[in-house]
């Protein structure tokens, strides 16, 4: 009975969403407060009913109710309870339910934390989010019902969850990612609401900023978790594959990053409003595109479950409606008022949009590389694939340029920056980063070709530029922090005086530098060897000796595993003992490689045992991966920066009256130094 109840609650939630999409919006357009007052109760109701549906599906998993088709396909009675729980979003239907749960959660959060906003704005924002909810609830009810039953022949046991997904990373990766994707719908709703009532001003940007930063922070963590999971669970030690599904998450991330910076300029200086609105629409549209690419089955990967053409068509329709309606609205309502703010060529108002230009170039590259093969295949121009080299070749120069520009931009000021001042500020980061990059390349590189020409050949230029760009960002940030924190009452007082949003920016930039440094070093100086080994063999990888000590067996809850023992030493000193496994999952009869990893801040040692090549020999992958962890740690630091910026008190203390005053007073008379952090 419970599953049927789940379906009923979803239908009720749909009805509430329809009301939410229509009533408050109508009330706001006709100035009827009584109708606008429905926005918050409807939002709460929608959330409660979706939460009940989610709870019912979770219950079906935990009590092994295999009469529900989705549970039977995704679960198995042998699975430990925590995987049964995470299996709720291990397949298409359940992950959509999670998506909708988060959407209604975000809507509820907007309703709760927007008491100081004008009620017209709140009603319209909540209505737009209601429309998004209508789209997704229709999608789930029409094409992907998680509560479908298998009756009367209930299977005795479930088909088990794909072993790749039976992992801690999967418990948290999708929720984080969805929080990001769905969170961008808030920025989108604010943009649409601003277009509807024509109030596209600094106050609007200020309201959107915290929501955008939080969504961006979650998306950053979600992407990093996915990358980390692929690193240790797919078994081969790569951390980014430029797989279309990864790209699908990177697209809204790049666009969201651009949006955060563009919102900063719009809020502080009241310029580039139209562009900011367009970015908010683009970011949400890219989230929908991501959902389409992943869920429609046009791309085959671990993420695309049983493909069903109606799902793809529905999502494509949803994307098309969103884009067409938003852009039409944009065409009619985009601000026609010219901004009176003036600024010089080296001002912060120029550097921030320049960052947007680079990010848009990166976005374009990833977008083309991702969807061109699909288009080519669809129009029968040939079945092509675009491999990693394309992305590495085109993305690396842009990443380096973003870093260099960022370092300069940090020192720029609103309105006008003196050239001499800028040049003086850049002396220290320039010298410092060249020294660091040269040191890293000379000490980590291998120089075994003879003569000076050979030496020149061995220099890895991209490694040099990557490290240069990363250390440039970090040094510039540190110098900026040093200058800003000088105070008559001592350094500590100066540091404490800085706002949280300034520290958010610092962390965001340091995190980015860490990602660039990690990616550059591991890709250029990592060592990978694939060898054939039997117990007793020793292999050398860089400075490390990998000794294959023995093999044994182990029984897991729903798998049997072959366990190898590897003793790792460096110049005779023992470093670690690793136990990589080859698991055979009983129900699905799948083989899984479970790598043995000795993780560290500066390097990872990685061993994976692949297929047996003889009765007592295996193909083994041995890796030395310097700084690989910086790619994920950097992402984490970035995300923390985003969350920290949101906790800034200026988002809390200002009330509506000052917002109005501020909005009408745009452009700002003068930007105070304390506000220079964006």
């Amino acid at each position: 009975m419970f599953p049927e109840l789940g379906q009923v609650t979803l239908i009720i939630a749909l009805l509430l969403s329809v009301l939410l999409a229509v009533v408050p919006l109508y009330g706001s357009l006709t100035n009827r407060d009584s109708l606008q007052a429905f926005a918050r109760p409807l939002t709460a109701g929608q959330f409660v009913f979706i939460a009940i549906a989610f709870g019912i599906l979770t219950r079906a998993f935990l009590i092994d109710d295999f009469s529900v088709a989705y549970v039977a396909n995704q679960s198995n009675s042998l699975m430990p309870w925590y995987y049964k729980f995470s299996a709720v979003w291990g397949g298409h239907e359940g992950s959509l339910l999670l998506w909708i749960l988060m959407l209604s959660g975000w809507t509820l959060a907007v309703a709760t934390f927007s008491r100081r906003l004008p009620s017209v704005m709140v009603s319209q924002v909540l209505s737009v989010m209601g429309m998004v909810a209508v789209g997704f609830l229709l999608f789930i009810l029409m094409t992907s019902n998680p509560f479908d039953r298998i009756l009367p022949n209930v299977p005795a046991d479930g088909a088990d969850l794909n072993p790749l997904l039976q992992d801690f990373g999967l418990i948290i990766h999708p929720p984080m990612l969805y929080m990001g994707y769905v969170g961008f719908s808030v920025a989108f709703a604010f943009a649409i609401a601003a277009l509807i009532n024509g109030r596209l001003d600094a106050a609007w940007a200020r309201w959107s900023r915290p929501w955008t930063s939080v969504a961006w922070g979650f998306l950053t963590i979600g992407i990093a978790l996915g990358s980390w999971w692929a690193y240790y669970e797919l078994g081969w030690g790569g951390w980014w594959f430029w797989d279309p599904v990864e790209n699908a998450s990177l697209l809204p991330w790049i666009s969201g990053t651009a949006l955060i910076h563009s919102l900063a300029v719009t809020e502080k200086r009241g310029v580039f409003k139209s562009w900011t609105v367009l970015l908010a629409i683009l970011t949400f549209a890219l989230s929908l595109l991501g959902a389409f690419l992943v869920r429609s089955g046009v791309i085959t990967s671990v993420h695309s479950f049983a493909s069903d053409p109606t799902r793809g068509a529905f999502l494509l329709g949803l994307l098309a409606v969103t884009v067409v309606v938003s852009l039409t609205l944009y065409a009619f309502r985009a601000p026609v008022v010219h901004t009176r703010a003036t600024f010089g060529p080296l001002s912060r108002e120029v550097f921030l949009p320049l960052n947007n230009v680079l990010l848009m170039a990166a976005l374009l590259l990833v977008l083309v590389g991702t969807i061109f093969p699909l288009i080519s295949d669809y129009f029968e121009l040939g079945n092509i694939s675009i491999g990693e080299p394309f992305f590495n070749l085109t993305f690396s120069p842009i990443a380096v340029a973003v870093g260099i520009l960022l370092g300069v931009g940090i020192f720029s000021r609103w309105k006008k920056t003196d050239e001499g001042y800028l040049a003086r500020k850049l002396i220290f980061p320039s010298i410092g980063s060249v020294v660091i990059a040269a040191t890293v390349v000379l000490t980590m590189g291998t120089f075994d070709s003879p003569g000076f020409i050979g030496f020149l050949d061995d220099i890895q230029l991209w490694a040099f530029f990557g490290v240069l760009s990363a250390s440039w960002v970090i040094l510039a940030t540190l110098q900026d922090l040093w200058t800003k924190s000088s105070s008559r009452h001592g350094r500590l007082h100066g540091l404490r005086r800085q706002s949280r949003s300034f520290y958010g920016m610092v962390l965001g930039h340091v995190g980015l530098a860490m990602v660039i440094a990690g990616a550059t070093v591991v890709n250029n100086f990592g060592i990978e060897r694939n060898v054939r080994m039997s117990p007793g063999d020793v292999a050398q990888v860089g400075d490390y000796q990998f000794s294959f000590a023995s093999v044994g067996e182990r029984e897991g809850p729903n798998f049997t595993a072959l366990v190898a023992r590897f003793d790792i030493s460096r110049n005779g000193e023992p470093v670690a003992t690793l136990y990589p496994e080859r698991r055979r999952y009983v129900v699905q009869r799948n083989m899984m490689t479970e790598a043995g990893i000795d993780g560290g801040f500066l390097r990872d040692i990685f061993v994976a045992v692949a297929e047996p090549v003889d009765s007592n020999a295996w193909a083994v992958r041995l890796q030395y991966k310097p700084l690989v962890r910086w790619t994920w740690l950097g992402a984490l630091v970035m995300a923390i920066g985003g969350f920290l910026a949101v906790s800034d008190r200026r988002y809390r203390i200002r009330d509506t009256a000052t917002e109005r005053k501020k909005a009408s007073a745009t452009p700002l008379p003068e930007s105070r130094p304390a506000e220079a952090g964006v």
């Binding site: 694939s385 394309f390 070749l393 085109t394 899984m592 692949a610 090549v613 003889d614």
Partner: protein, 154 residues
């Protein structure tokens, strides 16, 4: 030119420069990195270029996998049941690689018409067949039906 126009022009020029760089890089990288897919029959009939990075795929022929006893070198034949191509590879094969399974390989065809693979991809669970491979098998099946040949079940 008044300052506002001048500023606008600067911005537009920057945008155009960014776009030009992006388009230039994309086209350059595109030329190097587009890998077309060929099925074994196309390769046997000489449609596939030699010494160019391409992809090839089909089913791993039963009994065709030969391993080198001292290294990770391996040789196998990929077939669409009309023609087959020999693939040479050194490295780790995916977990689900096996005779009678679908694979997609990336690499180059050498002058002896042997496919030297840099990468071998297998399906990642038993329910899923790479779409290129199922297309190739469908084509081969249609051809077999025309010529009145028997196709094995796969």
């Amino acid at each position: 030119m008044n300052p506002a126009r001048k500023r606008k022009l600067t911005i537009i020029l920057f945008l155009l420069a960014g776009l030009a760089v992006a388009v230039g890089l994309t086209t350059y990288a595109f030329r190097q990195n587009i890998n077309l897919f060929y099925d074994p029959t196309q390769i046997a009939e000489g449609e596939a270029p030699v010494d160019v990075r391409i992809r090839a795929g089909g089913m791993v022929e039963d009994g065709s996998v030969v391993r080198d006893p001292d290294s990770l070198k391996v040789e196998f034949r990929v077939t669409d049941f009309t023609s087959a191509v020999t693939v040479r590879y050194e490295g780790i094969l995916p977990d689900l690689f096996a005779e009678g399974q679908g694979v997609v390989t990336t690499g180059q065809l050498n002058s002896d018409r042997v496919f030297v693979a840099e990468q071998v991809l297998a399906k990642h669970d038993e329910k899923y067949m790479p779409p290129e491979v199922s297309d190739a098998l469908e084509k081969s099946k249609a051809r077999a039906a025309e010529e009145g040949r028997e196709m094995p079940e796969y």
